[in-house]
């Protein structure tokens, strides 16, 4: 059964129609590549799934039950995690502090509880190790490389038992070696049964890890097919509009 279903979802910002009538479903342990030109509505679509925006129209079903998300926290409570395009990191905090931002581990009771630095450093270190990333939990994000920053943002999604992880251009600003790391991480998530949505401009990334590719153009979904039944040429055509729809 599909873990997430979108039915006729639309979103407009005032006069701007960002997403129009998109329906799709996500299955457990599936990696879906979401492609499209700048402004096609990819970020807006995943932000609706992540609870950042309320859809103007349409419904969302999680495990068959309809859900309405008002805030990102609610999406997270449902097991939906997102890695934002701009990563949303605080440069003045450590890697561990960023990983746990909004979900700090504390010790003590009630109003007397204090931040548990040790536990957060340890857990963040474990997650970075799982990600095979050499990111020191105590280092400030300000001093970090693009790949390390990416690891910090992705590590956040691994704090809880996520069902769905949404990644908005995780491989846009990092080196080739680091891209391979991120793709490995995506496979690791998939192997745990997590559904991953990967927004990317990089054709090779999508054709390497994705099981399925969805193409958007001007807010509409113009293709949704298994990766082996498509080709980079076809996807390019769909993105540019040379191919109308499949």
């Amino acid at each position: 059964m599909a873990v997430l279903e979108l039915v006729n979802i639309s979103k407009h910002f005032g006069a701007i129609q960002a997403v129009t009538d998109v329906s799709l479903s996500l299955n457990r342990g599936e990696v879906v590549g979401l492609m499209g030109d700048n402004g096609a509505g990819k970020s807006t679509l995943v932000k609706m799934i992540a609870g950042n925006f309320r859809p103007s129209q349409g419904t969302m079903r999680l495990d068959g039950a309809e859900i309405v998300l008002h805030r990102p926290v609610e999406a997270r409570q449902h097991g939906i995690e997102i890695v934002y395009q701009d990563l949303a990191l605080c440069d003045n905090l450590t890697a561990a502090a960023n990983v746990f931002l909004g979900r700090e581990i504390r010790r003590g009771i009630g109003p007397l509880s204090i931040l548990d630095y040790k536990a957060m450093y340890r857990r963040a270190g474990e997650i970075f190790k799982e990600l095979k990333s050499e990111t020191p939990p105590r280092d400030f994000v300000r001093q970090m490389s693009g790949g390390q920053r990416q690891a910090v943002a992705i590590a956040r999604t691994m704090l809880s038992d996520a069902k769905i992880v949404l990644m908005d251009e995780p491989t846009a600003a990092i080196s080739v070696r680091q891209v391979a790391e991120v793709l490995n991480l995506i496979r690791a998530l998939r192997d745990r049964g997590i559904a991953v949505v990967l927004i990317s401009h990089r054709m090779p990334d999508v054709f390497t890890v994705a099981d399925r590719v969805i193409v958007m153009r001007r807010g509409r979904k113009v293709a949704d097919k298994a990766i082996e039944q498509s080709s980079p040429e076809e996807v390019t055509g769909l993105i540019t509009g040379a191919i109308e729809q499949v």
Binding site: V73, Y84, L89, L101, E104, R106, L115, G125, F140, R156
Partner: protein
Amino acid sequence: MAITLDRAVGQRDRGWLSFLFASQAFWVLIAVILACLFLSVATDSFATAKNLYNITRNFTFVAIIALGMTLVIITGGIDLSVGSVLCLSSMVLAVVMHAGYGIEVGIAASIGTALLAGAFNGVMIAYLGFPPFVITLGMLSIARSLAMVASNNTVVFEFGPDHDALLALGGGAWFFGIANPVLYMIVLALVTGFVLRWTKFGRYVFAIGGNEHAARLTGVPVRRIKVIVYMISALAAGIAGIVQTGWLGAVTTNIGAGMELQVIAAAVIGGANLAGGVGTASGALIGAALIEVIRNSLGLLGINAFWQGAFIGGAIVLAVLFDRIRNFRQSE
């Protein structure tokens, strides 16, 4: 994998010594200590009980308010209304006690007034999106005006039945002969330092200053935290006002005038970054101490008092310059 988990987790990016050397407050503290040593040797009048008493008097009130201001500055905001809020709180305390109410009622009314002023600032900034500079500038004007209205612009120096209790609260020395305002300052600094380092609230204050957008996306209650931060700033001004009233034994409607600039200077010299995201409680105290030592030393060294502003301004510029150079080195 090149590094083991334990090493990665245990690894500090810098040792505590280099951490200290990279801290602006540390260097300012060194400057304060050197200045004090120099003044003790160079003048007969610096290291006297009376002069040290004067220094602490002037410095503690600025320092107490600078603690609250530091929180505001860490979130990337500013509070220009603290001097006026100090005046208004003092005046509310004075007027209420003068009318015959007890000290508890006076303090409750005074603190309540300060919190209201802070909540107004905070709500306008966090929920209605006004720039902190503008709103708190408005409050600067409003609060002092209200203080004048409350007192009909007179001096209040009789505080009703609890007159002596109030003077003891501000002017006494209840603990090992340390002046009460100094005790309050130390306690408040410890509380502020604790909150910043060990609580979720403190973590969020830094997160908002570092990247407000990111903080909001990750579920930090940004607006609520901001309102609380401005309330804390006003509360610090209110507490300073109450203590100062007891210390001076009189309230006029011009107390605290221009104090906001000293307070902001203290926070910035102590390492708080006006761009947000950086600041410490100890820095607020040390910054306030440096300003007071500069002021005091000019008098003792026989330098024209008109030079005061130039030296304090110079210290601010130096502090910011120091920060620039450090950032420059880091980004290389």
